[in-house]
């Protein structure tokens, strides 16, 4: 079974996994980060409390988080097709993955930002900082270590979701593991795949922790 095509497939699987995971994470952050910031900003104890907008956003985020991934996947098919012209393959999977991960990211970001010391927020307010400046120059930089740690969590969680890419012929290591390990019962391929997955997770998680610690100036 260790022929060239298997190796080829595993190699491609690693590539696809990285592609889907990082792509989705990127877009999930592009959407989720601002949402998380808005959640913190509009909250009752935020820098621009706005009960109505907060509630609306809160519900939207929860709503997206409530959809089982497969349901979400078909619900956004028309959108995916409109956007990419296809609903197949790793690129197409990035769309539902992003939509599914963005509210998750928003919640993680919300959690990180809520840990920023009120004192420094007040200090910047006393200097006449605008909401945008507080977000950009205080909340995000001060929460940086926590944001990075949570980003590692987001990446590994999204990586987990890429296993479901098989539903739409997406590919990737998770899909390989399921196809061979689950459907075909070729457990040696599954094993290799899982080991590769472990390595990938280890790299992301390790990197996240390392960067977070290196960039944390509090200790």
């Amino acid at each position: 079974m260790w022929d060239e095509s298997t190796l080829q497939m595993l190699l491609q699987g690693v590539g696809e996994t990285l592609y889907m995971t990082l792509g989705s994470t990127l877009f999930a952050y592009i959407i989720g980060l601002p949402l998380g910031v808005l959640l913190v900003m509009w909250a009752a104890d935020g820098i621009r409390p706005h009960p109505v907008l907060y509630k609306i956003l809160d519900v939207i985020v929860n709503l997206t988080r409530s959809f089982p991934f497969i349901i979400l996947l078909i619900a956004v098919l028309p959108f995916t097709r409109w956007l990419l012209g296809t609903t197949l393959g790793p690129t197409a999977v990035i769309v539902p993955l992003t939509i599914s991960a963005a509210p998750f990211v928003a919640r993680l970001v919300e959690g990180s930002l809520k840990e920023v010391d009120v004192g420094v927020i007040e200090a910047s307010q006393s200097m006449g900082a605008s909401a945008l400046q507080i977000i950009w120059k205080v909340l995000l930089p001060e929460a940086r270590p926590s944001l990075i740690l949570n980003c590692a969590i987001a990446i590994t969680t999204i990586l987990g979701y890429t296993a479901m890419a098989g539903f739409v012929g997406g590919g990737g290591l998770g899909d390989i593991a399921i196809r061979f390990g689950y459907y075909r019962r070729e457990e040696d391929i599954m094993l290799v795949t899982v080991v590769l997955l472990i390595v990938v997770v280890q790299v992301f998680q390790g990197l996240g922790l390392w960067i977070a610690r290196r960039l944390d100036r509090r200790k």
Partner: protein, 339 residues
């Protein structure tokens, strides 16, 4: 220096509402701070000083009353206007509130960035200020690598960075040794003189008030007990609260002196440095003992207090007292209950 109130506080109250209890941190405060003032605020721990200063830039929204800054009612301003107003007020916090993820230098640049000053100019200014507070070598250190006093100095430098019209200082020198305190106070006095910056300073150190303030308010239990010129209040504290603060040693010394004809001579700057006690000794040919002395030479005038013990002889003691009175000095018998 033109004198108009830059900060005016009208019947301001602040109540913190907790789950069970209410804390009336400030009650019916009225205050005028003129442009160019160095305005001291003193009071016991928990009296409401920090809350008052935080109301001045609306970090704390007053429960009642108004705060006028430069004639504008701060509570009536829209967000943008409030931001503008705040940009002309620098603030030094009791807990410093430095950005933990920025270097000392970048912390000083922070208000400049907010005000839209370009990077290069900001860096140059930060460098100047670091020098001014004696921390040039710590430019690249993060707050967690600084000592308490160093953090405080960075906080001071940060507040000064934008050359604000008003500087609100919540215990700006509490973590500093006397020498550093002196140089910071000299710095504050200098920018006050040169740039006409108004300074509001909360402090526990009477020497800070003496050294640089021209006006002082004494807050006691959420209310203003006394407010006026430093020389006046420090020589004639009227309310018990003020006496307590201005002569904290009073009670202590009193115990030792009572029943021995001890009197306190207060120098409030009106008598210049003539040898008044020595002259009196010579005049009446009788020694007096200096029990306690705390005097200072400010701008060539004498300030402070001396407690002396007059001779046993009643009539002589009387005469001496009158002699001092005639010299324009305030003389009080030190008895049990004088603060």
């Amino acid at each position: 220096m033109e004198r108009k109130p830059i900060i005016e506080i009208r019947s301001l109250s602040k109540t913190f509402r907790g789950k069970n209890a209410e804390v009336h941190a400030l009650q019916d405060i009225n205050l005028k701070i003129e442009q160019g003032d160095i305005f001291g605020i003193i009071g016991m721990s928990g009296a409401g000083k920090s809350t008052l200063v935080r109301c001045m830039n609306m970090l704390e929204i007053p429960t009642e009353g108004t705060v006028l800054f430069d004639g504008m009612d701060l509570s009536k301003l829209n967000r943008k206007q409030l931001r503008e107003a705040r940009r002309s007020m620098g603030m030094i916090f009791q807990q410093f509130n430095l950005l933990m993820q920025r270097t000392a230098e970048a912390n000083i640049c922070f208000p400049l960035e907010i005000a839209g000053v370009d990077k290069a100019t900001a860096k140059k200014r930060a460098k100047e200020l670091l020098e001014l507070v004696g921390l040039s070598d710590k430019a690249k250190s993060y707050p967690s690598q600084l000592s308490g006093g160093q953090k405080q100095r960075i906080a001071i430098a940060r507040a000064l960075a934008t050359n604000p019209k008003v500087l609100l200082c919540d215990e700006a020198t509490s973590a500093l040794d006397p020498n550093t305190t002196s140089s910071i106070l000299a710095l504050l006095k200098d920018i006050n003189r040169r740039l006409g910056i108004t300074i509001v300073i909360i402090t526990h150190e009477m020497r800070v008030i003496e050294e640089i303030c021209n006006r002082v308010a004494i807050i006691s239990e959420s209310k203003i007990a006394e407010c006026g010129d430093v020389t006046e209040i420090f020589s004639h504290p009227k309310t018990p609260a003020a006496q307590h603060l201005v002569f904290p040693e009073g009670k202590h010394t009193t115990e030792t002196f009572t029943g021995k004809h001890a009197i306190r001579i207060v120098f409030n700057g009106s008598s210049s440095f003539e040898p008044v006690i020595a002259n009196m000794v010579l005049e009446y040919k009788s020694p007096v003992n200096i029990l306690f002395a705390d005097t200072k030479n400010m701008d060539g005038k004498a300030f402070g207090q001396i407690v002396i013990q007059l001779p046993e002889d009643e009539s002589l003691a009387d005469k001496m007292q009158r002699y001092l009175h005639m010299r324009g000095l305030t003389v009080e018998e030190v008895s049990g209950n004088v603060g």
